[in-house]
Every structure is written in C-alpha cells, then in structure tokens.
C-alpha cells in the first residue's frame, strides 16, 4: 500500500512538474519544444559525437569530388609558405581600406550583431588568426557590428535545424554544395540572387557562382574551391615499371597503368571513387534533360564507363569497392595512405592530411593534373556562404559574406591552405604560379585547371533522393545483382518518377 502511495505521488509530481514546465514554456512551446525533440529523436538512438571522424564521410557522401572542408579541420599541419604570416593581416586590412570609403552601414547606425558558422576552421591557429583578422577588418568598416563566430563539423546542418527551431539563427553559414541544396530544398536558405547586385556577382567565376542555382534562385555565395588532382606514389610507380613524372593523362592510360600494377606489384594503380554525376562531367554526357524534368544519363557513354570499370574489376585491376558506396572515398584515401594505391584522385587540400597521417607516403608523393575524359572538364568541390531564411539581417549578412569572399581575403586564405579562390581577380594573382613545394605545385596545377572546373552536383530540388536511387541501383550493379544496362534503366526510370512529382 505504502509502495503504491509512493509510486502514485511520484507520478503525480512528475506530471505537476511537467505541466508547470509546459505553462512556463507558454507560447514558445512549439518552437522550443521542437528544439528539445531534435535531441530526443536522436537521443533514443544516441547522437553521433566524433564529428572529425565522421566528417569526411558524411560530408562527402553525395559530393562528386569528395573534398570536404571538414578535412581542412584535420589538416592541422600548417602550409609551409614563408612570409604568409606577415602578409595575411595586411592583405585583409588593405582590402578594408580600399572599400572603407563606400562601406554601407546597416541597422540605421544602431549596434547589431552577425553570427557566422564555418566548418572545421577553428582549432587551427592559422585559420583562426586569418578569420579573426578578416572580422576585425570588417568591424573597422562597420563600427556598429559585433561578429560572433561558431564552428562545427559535418553535423552543421543539424545544428542549423535546431537553431532555426529555437529562433536563435546564424546570419551566415558555410555549406558545401550538397548541404546547401538539401537545406534550400527544405526551404531554409535565402535566394542570394534576389538581394545581390549584378556588379557584386561579376566578381566571381560565373560557373562557380551558379553552383547552387535551382531555377532562377542561387543559394550560396561561392567561397573556396578544391579541384581534383592526382596524387602519385612514386615508389609504386617505379615498382610497376612506370614513370611517375609522366603519369596517365587519360582514363585509358590509367587502365594500362592498372595492368602494369597488377602484374608487378601487390597494389592497385587507382580506385574509382567518382560518382556518376562526376563521371558525366568528365565524359561529357548530361545527367538531366535541359529542362531538368527528365533523366538523360541512360546513354552509351555512361554504359561505356560502367563497362570500363566492370572489366577492370573482373581482372582485379581495381579494388572491389563500389565507387557509389558511402565509404568509397574513405577507403581510397586509407589505401593511398597505406601505400597500396598508385594514384589517388582527390582534392589538393587533402595533401595536408596525407602529410600528417602518412609522412612517409607524403615524402614519396608527386602531384599531377587529374586525368581527363572526353569533355576535358574537371570536377570541383565548392564551399559557399549561405544566408538562412530566418536571419534577421539578410542585407547585412550578404554584405558580410561578400566581404569574407572578396579578392583580397580569398587570396590571403589561399596562401594558408591548398584551396582556390572563387573570384576571378584573386585567381589571377602571380602567387598561384610561383614555384614551391608539393602543395604549391598542387595549387598551381589546380589553379591552371580552374577554367575547366565545374561542380558536378545535380542541382534540383530533390537532389538527395535522386543521388540515393542512383547509387542504390549502381551498387546493385557493382555487387552483381544487376547488369550495367539494367542499373542505368532502373535508375533513369526512378529519376523520371521523382522528377515528375
């Protein structure tokens, strides 16, 4: 009886507490409740914690060239460019002084604050000093602004969801293309095209500016780019009887190298990791019809590329790892770091990671332009700055995003990491052509390819869904339960269904 009494009172008081809480929440129940529930939905399942470990995988799951910014986070090794330290701050301030005469003030001259979220840039002193310098320069132009800087890993999209639900929204958020599209298709991002001026737009490469273009809307100010290059293991090339200074320039040449590797080493020459949209870019076939209402990839070219890989796989000339699986990129990177892969096709920014995790392999690495297909185009992975719809200072946010991505600031950033700028003027700086170490060589190679660079991400509202059905089908082909033609047939039919909705 007593026990029952105790139990009853426990339940009762819990209910009282609960109702008190609900009353306390009052009108804001809907929003703050949702914020808590995010945790709840995840907490029944324990939310993922180690973002640095997950980051490359998650961020690269749907991108054609898996060069995630998050990787920058793990590349704590400073880029060995002397004089950079001294040039960074002045560059930022020079930029400031040139614009200061025309700087527009926001919020009627009253104090306001801007919050910026980046991916994987805090924790590296070089990047921190650089960005703080940029913020200080911006504050000099806009004395009324307070800038709050937060940094997240691959979970940044989830953070934005909870932030929107709780009403405490950042003004500028760094996303890669696929994250931008995902959030845009859920209605979370501002159409930049509606608030940007034509002359502001003109500073960027048009191709890069239109990376996130859906219909007439553009959801992101392009920031920095990472281009596919080839990292080459010199020793393995030598063992295979090949010349590392004259690496394969085409996919056909890569296949020949694969044969040599198979006969003379226990490693593989290369591992395909490019998603089909990336292959489409390289080989010059379209993924979508021009009106974006139907699939267009079910072509002899696509079939030829799949058959090409199928034959290589049958001969044990490439690893038996589906390029379309979520972990193919990690797998190839790990294989390269283990000295079991001759050529790694990846973004130049990954050099720092190889240097840190596998210094012996790094010493033994040379860089070359990525092999090209029929189109001569090279996939690029873009990072951009987006403005959430819920931001209270959209105009000021855009101004700030444009400042962070202006020529001078991007150039200074490029000197710190193996990345490329999205503005035309910055990319023409002689710095990119200067001789230097491996990273500088990679920088030169990718800067020279920038004019042929394109983000291969399929840009439609349901991009995620399309990518998923496509990869399901291609994975089935890779594991042998479908022929290449069947996989293409099924995927294109599935795409037509999704696009018709």
């Amino acid at each position: 009886m007593k026990l029952l009494h105790a139990r009853l009172s426990l339940i009762l008081s819990a209910l009282i507490l609960l109702s008190a809480l609900l009353v306390a929440c009052g009108d804001s129940t809907a929003t703050s409740g949702a914020a808590v529930t995010t945790a709840a939905v995840a907490s029944t399942t324990v939310a993922p914690t180690a973002t640095s470990a997950l980051a490359p995988t998650v961020a690269t799951a749907t991108t054609p060239v898996p060069v995630a910014t998050t990787v920058v986070a793990t590349t704590a090794v400073p880029v060995a460019t002397t004089a950079v330290d001294t040039t960074v701050a002045p560059v930022a301030t020079t930029a400031a002084s040139t614009i200061s005469t025309t700087a527009k003030q926001f919020n009627d001259g009253k104090p306001y604050s801007l919050t910026i979220w980046t991916i994987g840039l805090k924790g590296n002193k070089k990047f921190e000093d650089y960005l703080n310098g940029v913020y200080d320069a911006y504050k000099k132009l806009h004395p009324n602004v307070t800038i709050k800087w937060e940094d997240y890993g691959a979970e940044i999209d989830q953070k934005l969801l909870t932030a929107v639900a709780s009403g405490d929204v950042p003004d500028v958020v760094n996303f890669n293309t696929s994250y931008s599209l995902r959030l845009a298709s859920n209605g979370a991002l501002t159409d930049i095209n509606k608030i940007i001026k034509p002359e502001q737009k003109a500073a960027y490469f048009q191709g890069l500016y239109e990376t996130t273009k859906v219909g007439e809307a553009v959801y992101s100010v392009p920031w920095y780019a990472s281009l596919q290059i080839a990292m080459i293991n010199k020793d393995l090339f030598q063992k295979a009887g090949l010349d590392a200074s004259n690496p394969p320039k085409t996919y056909t040449a890569l296949a020949d190298a694969a044969k040599a590797f198979h006969d003379k080493t226990d490693a593989y020459a290369f591992q395909p990791i490019t998603q089909l949209p990336g292959e489409a870019l390289i080989e010059g076939f379209a993924m979508l019809s021009p009106d974006k209402k139907k699939s267009a990839f079910n072509t002899p070219e696509a079939l030829a590329k799949l058959t090409f890989y199928e034959n290589l796989k049958k001969g044990d000339l490439i690893p038996n790892k589906s390029p379309y699986s979520d972990t193919s990129y990690d797998d190839a990177l790990a294989r390269y770091k283990a000295g079991k892969l001759g050529v790694l096709l990846t973004g130049a920014s990954l050099l720092s990671q190889v240097e840190k995790d596998a210094p012996d392999i790094y010493k033994n690495t040379v860089v070359a332009p990525a092999p090209v297909g029929k189109s001569g185009l090279i996939p690029v992975d873009m990072q951009g700055l987006t403005i959430p719809n819920a931001s209270k200072n959209k105009e000021a946010a855009l101004d700030f995003a444009l400042f962070v991505t202006n020529d001078a600031n991007q150039l200074a950033f490029c000197k710190l990491a193996t990345i490329l700028p999205s503005t035309i003027k910055a990319s023409q700086d002689p710095f990119f052509q200067a001789p230097g170490d491996l990273k500088q060589q990679a920088r030169t190679i990718s800067a020279n390819s920038l004019k042929n660079a394109k983000d291969a991400t399929v840009v439609v509202a349901n991009a995620d869904k399309l990518q998923q059905t496509l990869n399901d089908s291609l994975n089935a082909w890779w594991s042998g339960s479908k022929t290449a033609q069947q996989a293409l047939d099924d995927a294109s039919k599935a795409w037509d269904d999704v696009l018709a909705k």
């Binding site: 997950l54 209605g187 819920a390």
Partner: protein, 330 residues
Amino acid sequence: MARQTSLSSGQLERSRAQQKIWTISRKRQVVAWLFMLPALIILAIFTFYPLIYGVILAFFENNLLGESHFVGIDNFTRAFQDKDFGVALFHSGLYLLVVPMLQVAAIAIALLLNSKLRGVTIFRAIFYVPVITSLVVAAVVWKWIYAPDYGLLNSGIRWFNETVTQTTIRRFHGPDWLNDPGLALGSIAFVTFWKGIGYYMVIYLAGLQSIPKELEEAARLDGARGLSLARYVIVPLLMPTIALCTIMSTIAALRVFDEVLVMAGGPGGNPNKSTLVASTYIYGRAFGGIGGRFEFGYAAALSLILAAVIWVFTLINLKLFNKGGLEYYS
C-alpha cells in the same frame, strides 16, 4: 466510566505516537522529495517532455523549419508500407543474435574471473577497458582493423597464410569485412559484442558474489562439480542477473546506433543497405541523410514503432526469465 477514560487515554497516547511517527515520516518524505527534485527536474525536461512531444510529433508533418501540420495516422500507415524500414527492423532483429552470445561469454568470463587466482584483477581490468572506451573511437579503430588488404585483421590472415600454412598468394585479398553485404552487419555486431562483454561481466561478477557460499558448498558436498554445479546451482541463482542483463542488452541491440553509423559511413546502410538498422534509419529520415528531407514527424512515428518492438521483446524476456534466484528452490 473510569475504564472508558483509561481506554480513551490509551487511544490518545497511541494516536499521539502515530501522529509523531506520521510527522517524522512526513518530514522524511519532504527531505526525500527535495533530494529527488533536481533529478526529477532534469528528467522532466530531458525525458518526459521530449517523450510526450515526440508522441505528439508522430501525428504531424514537421521539418523543424516552421512547416508543421497535422496528418493523423499517415506517418504510421506510411511506416507500415516503407520497405526500407522493414529491412531496417529486420536487421535490428538480426542484431539480437548478439544478445545470447554476449550473455554466455560474459557469464563464462565472469565464472573464470570469480576465482582467487593471482593477477585476476588485471584480467578484470583488461576486459573492462572496451567499456570505458568511447564507442565512436572504438568504431573508428575497428574500421581500420577491418580494412581490406591493408587492415590489421587481413594482414594477420595473410601472415598466417604465409608463415603457418606456407601458402603465398601474390595479390592477397582477405574478406572485405565491412564492404561485403554478407559480412558487414556481423562485423559490426562483433564490435558491439567486444564492447559489451566487460560491462555484463562486471554485473555477473557482482551476481556471482551474492550467491550464498553455503549453497555452493552444500552442492559440492552432494557431489556437484563443474557443469552440474553451474547447471543446478549457479545459473538458477544467477537468473535475476541474467534477466536484467538480457533485457538491457536486448534493448541496446534493438537500438544500436553509433557503431553502425560510424562503420557503415553514414545512415545509408552501406553496403547495399545490408547495415541499415532501425535507429540509423530513423536518424537518416529525421536529419535528411535518407531521402534528403527533414522528416521529424515521420521519424517520431518510426521511433514509436521501434519503442513498441522493444517493449514486446522486453515482455518476452520477462516471461522467459521470471523464474530463478533463491525462489528456484522453493
């Protein structure tokens, strides 16, 4: 009359004493509640409130970005037609195979470590190390162990082939543990097994130490040895502990998340959906990793279905293990 008075005074005294006890117990109750209050507040905010909100959410279409409307039981009807969720639930069910293996192994190790051998504490510590390791860190390390060609496990197999069986395969490819649809879920489940064993072992050690020594001695005098001692004395007496551990590990297996997410490289169930489990599927649906839309309402409905499945399994467990302990002999 006098008798009545004395009676009433006795009653009075008794009621006074009762009152005293009542006030004391009341005071104690207030103190007890005060002690419980902080925990209750935390529970209310972080457990009861999200729980209730989650149930409500299951009847809405909600993307957390402001769009929210009532859809009745649509989320549930959709869930029952969702093939991928069926696959995910099936894999979560398969994952339950870890439970009996884990319990048998944990009991066996606990029995071994319950002896008074020298250095036994070192072994206890060794078996407990995985428990205190972060699951995500462990999963990342295991991913490396399982890596194809160059992974630790396959390098071991290669070394074994070359030195022990004297067979050299020039281009050796061991099993692709995390990339073969037939092996991936099992390989991940082994990490759960490896990580859980120490945890349950400690609980079983405590359970073993609470078994009255007289009963064991009496059984020995009656000639029970080894297996028969375990079968007729130790296991029955350990039954309440076994029930507890089985229920806990059943729940844990049905909602396994971290190791699957890390080792499969995302919620997609790589390779070929062979590692799609209920929790990762729900997570993928909520946060856009599966399907690209933020479907919190649908994810909440799926969570409720998973909770119902867990509840059913817990009831089955309770039914199976309700006999045991000292009652076994009565």
